[in-house]
């Protein structure tokens, strides 16, 4: 096989044994990699009704097909399982360097089964596999864990090349918004995937690899890589603006068009946003750029607060963290944001869900539902020190953190206001106000993993194309016309061609799909056509939907938060209106070949080669 390593490492934590299996070429072709291959294995091997934190759940690390090939941004991979947060399918995307080491060691996937009786870590050094005791690491935060493991490697050069994925105290304490962190600051953040790792007593996975990853048609592959690199270099957006400001370069623009949420989605388009924008962090705090493996864009990097209560070196936050931990918590101090981001990374918590819980807590407090005596502190919007305290409490399940750690509306329900948790399927809502982009509203509601924006970035057409082109791509952000078709096509294509292949979604600003496809085809040697790849995405999407339906997640869960349905937009193109997601949803189900309840029909499943997989 080319591109794929051709091997799956299956680890039985209960028995402390492992097996190495062959990756079936037909399976690889159909499900490509990352969330695709992980979805099919979860679907076949995990009963969707089990306890996500029990012995029967499986935790899968699955690399994108192109990881390690040198494809442009070919690094993205997933951690997958049944989610303890949503109860449905979980797959949390991550970049950095860890996935490449796993591939260089010779594995496309690692499947963890069972529960270790004591804390362990998995050590992978090419063909040497060892399940080692990790008692000395349990209780350590993510940064300490990586430092200790690296300090135990005698050869300093090898230590540098060794990459680690681990959980912090949040994952150990089964916090349902815990992340799996790698390379210290790269997060597989969403779905509570870190709690699954914690439930298995698996503290860390350490990978070091020296094997080659081959490509099928080297000359054509190199040509396709050079074409993509040339396009990125020629794009001011991809080669200059994005590295300079990161994804948080969007903050000011989205604030102006009413997409940036403020104060738990109560307000929009407030001038204070500029104080906490990507521009503000780049101007005042960024030390240098730092990229992921095989990426010419390098949007990350360390950022330092030199003095004061939030002093320390952090990592530049992404747009979502800016939006949700900043303005959506009424916080306009970039130093509080940097500290909050760092605490989440250090303790192993998803910044997005954490911030959604904090903004909810702040509104509960300000509206008089959550008394100061319960909070143990003032919890007013804008209180950066309260943000940091709540993150720490959540990791250790202390104080309000005990409620926040359960995720979803648990905290809001305790204080009688479940609708003040802004989320979908118990997952905190992404940082885009649905009232100014109806395609994104439908996208977040139909995402198979919860309140997530990552499955189809419709804002490329609903917002960015209006200002930055191409003009022919621009669509009315607050019209329902054509949104279901656009969304479905983007979901299918992005799933297969971007996520499963292992490309970074951010890179699409410089290398659009016509430049991605040749890299996938020439590296794998699979004689794909574009439509075949898109159908692969549709098949994966339908399997994820079936997993969720079997887990009990239904049409009743495909619903926009009440605030976004009923309280009209106060600014932006949708001012005075709300999206009618229910109407769009009916059409979306029909286009997908699903019945009125959102269940894939037997005909649709048969068309996708999934006969007999219905409810």
């Amino acid at each position: 096989m080319h591109a794929w390593a051709g091997k799956i490492l299956r680890v039985d934590l209960s028995e402390r044994e492992y097996d190495i299996e062959d990756l079936d070429p037909y399976f690889a072709k159909m499900y490509i990699g990352a969330q695709g291959t992980a979805t099919r294995i979860l679907y076949d091997e995990v009963d969707p009704t089990i306890d996500a934190l029990g012995e029967e759940n499986k935790l899968i690390f699955s690399t994108g097909a192109l990881v390690g090939t040198g494809a442009v941004t070919g690094i993205r991979s997933v951690w997958a399982a049944k989610s303890p947060l949503t109860g449905g399918i979980a797959f949390s995307n991550v970049g950095g360097y860890f996935p490449a080491e796993v591939k260089f060691a010779g594995y496309d996937m690692i499947i963890f089964e069972g529960i270790a009786d004591d804390p362990v870590m998995l050590w992978i050094d090419d063909d040497e596999i060892e399940i080692m005791d990790a008692d000395h690491l349990w209780g350590k935060d993510v940064f300490e864990t990586e430092d200790i493991i690296k300090s135990e490697i005698d050869d300093p050069w090898k230590a540098m090349d060794t990459r680690i994925a681990s959980i912090g105290p949040a994952g150990e304490n089964l916090v349902k918004i815990a992340a799996i962190m790698s390379d210290k600051h790269r997060a597989a953040a969403r779905c509570g995937i870190g709690a699954v790792m914690g439930s298995k007593n698996l503290k860390a996975v350490v990978a070091h690899g020296t094997k080659d990853v081959s490509v099928a048609v080297p000359e054509a592959f190199n040509k396709s890589v050079n074409a993509a690199l040339g396009a990125i270099r020629a794009s001011e957006r991809a080669s200059k603006v994005f590295p300079a400001y990161g994804s948080a370069g969007l903050v000011n623009f989205y604030n102006e068009v009413g997409l940036l949420p403020h104060m738990n989605f109560k307000k929009m388009a407030l001038p204070e946003a500029h104080k906490i924008s990507g521009q503000a962090v780049a101007d005042g705090y960024l030390i240098r750029n730092q990229g992921c493996f095989s990426c010419p864009m390098s949007c990350g990097g360390p950022a330092e607060v030199k003095e004061g209560p939030f002093e320390g070196v952090s990592h530049r936050p992404e747009y979502e963290t800016h939006a949700l931990m900043g303005p959506n918590c009424g916080i306009y101090d970039p130093e509080a944001l940097l500290k909050g981001n760092n605490e989440c990374n250090r303790l192993g918590i998803d910044t997005m869900d954490m911030a959604c819980q904090v903004s909810c807590a702040m509104e509960l407090y300000e509206e008089g539902h959550l008394p100061e005596s319960d909070a143990g502190m003032k919890l007013n919007f804008g209180n950066g020190e309260a943000l940091v305290t709540l993150i720490q409490q959540t990791a250790y399940r202390e104080g309000l953190g005990e409620l926040i750690a359960e995720g979803g509306a648990t905290l809001a329900e305790k204080y009688g206001q479940p609708d003040l948790f802004i989320g979908v399927k118990k997952m905190g809502y992404a940082g885009y106000d649905a009232r100014n982009a109806y395609g994104m509203a439908l996208g977040v509601v139909t995402s198979t993993r919860g309140g997530c924006h990552c499955r189809a970035y419709t804002l490329v057409r609903e917002a960015l194309a209006h200002a930055f082109g191409p003009k022919e791509m621009a669509v009315d952000p607050v019209s329902m016309q054509g949104k279901a078709e656009m969304l479905m096509m983007m979901q299918n294509m992005q799933t297969a061609l971007v996520d499963c292949a292992g490309f970074c979604q951010f890179s699409m600003s410089g290398q659009p799909p016509p430049l991605l496809f040749p890299q996938l085809a020439t590296a794998t040697g699979v004689n794909y056509t574009m439509p075949e790849v898109v159908i692969n995405g549709e098949r994966i999407w339908n399997l994820q939907k079936m997993f969720n339906l079997k887990a009990g997640i239904t049409k009743a869960d495909d619903v926009l938060p009440k605030r976004l349905r009923e309280e009209p937009a106060t600014a932006g193109p949708g001012k005075g209106k709300n999206p009618d997601v229910e109407t769009m949803l009916k059409y979306y189900y029909m286009l997908r070949g699903w019945d009125e309840e959102g269940v894939p029909t037997p005909q649709k499943l048969a068309e996708l080669g999934l006969e007999g997989q219905g409810l």
């Binding site: 957006r237 603006v241 994804s247 068009v257 960015l464 930055f468």
Partner: protein, 81 residues
């Protein structure tokens, strides 16, 4: 008429001297378009980017007519999410 401009990223260098908070008020003739505003600010045609006028995004070459009191933001082409 007068419009408020908000300059972001590379467009900050086109702010009139003594501007504060990356903002300025620019006086234009009635009926002026976005292109006229770019010219008044000295933004060359090859300095590409997008604009937002009172919450709605427009391309850099828009002939959209401005009105008194408009707020206009200038942005370099951004991406991500």
């Amino acid at each position: 008429m007068q419009v408020e401009v908000k300059m972001f990223m590379k467009f900050r260098k086109y702010l009139p001297p003594d501007s504060k908070n990356d903002m300025a008020v620019i006086t234009l003739e009635e009926g002026a378009t976005l292109l006229d505003l770019r010219a008044a600010l000295g933004i060359p045609p090859d300095e590409h980017g997008g604009t937002v006028i009172d919450g709605v995004a427009y391309p850099e070459d828009s002939v959209h007519k401005l009105k008194d009191g408009d707020s206009v933001g200038f942005f370099a082409s951004v991406a991500g999410g």
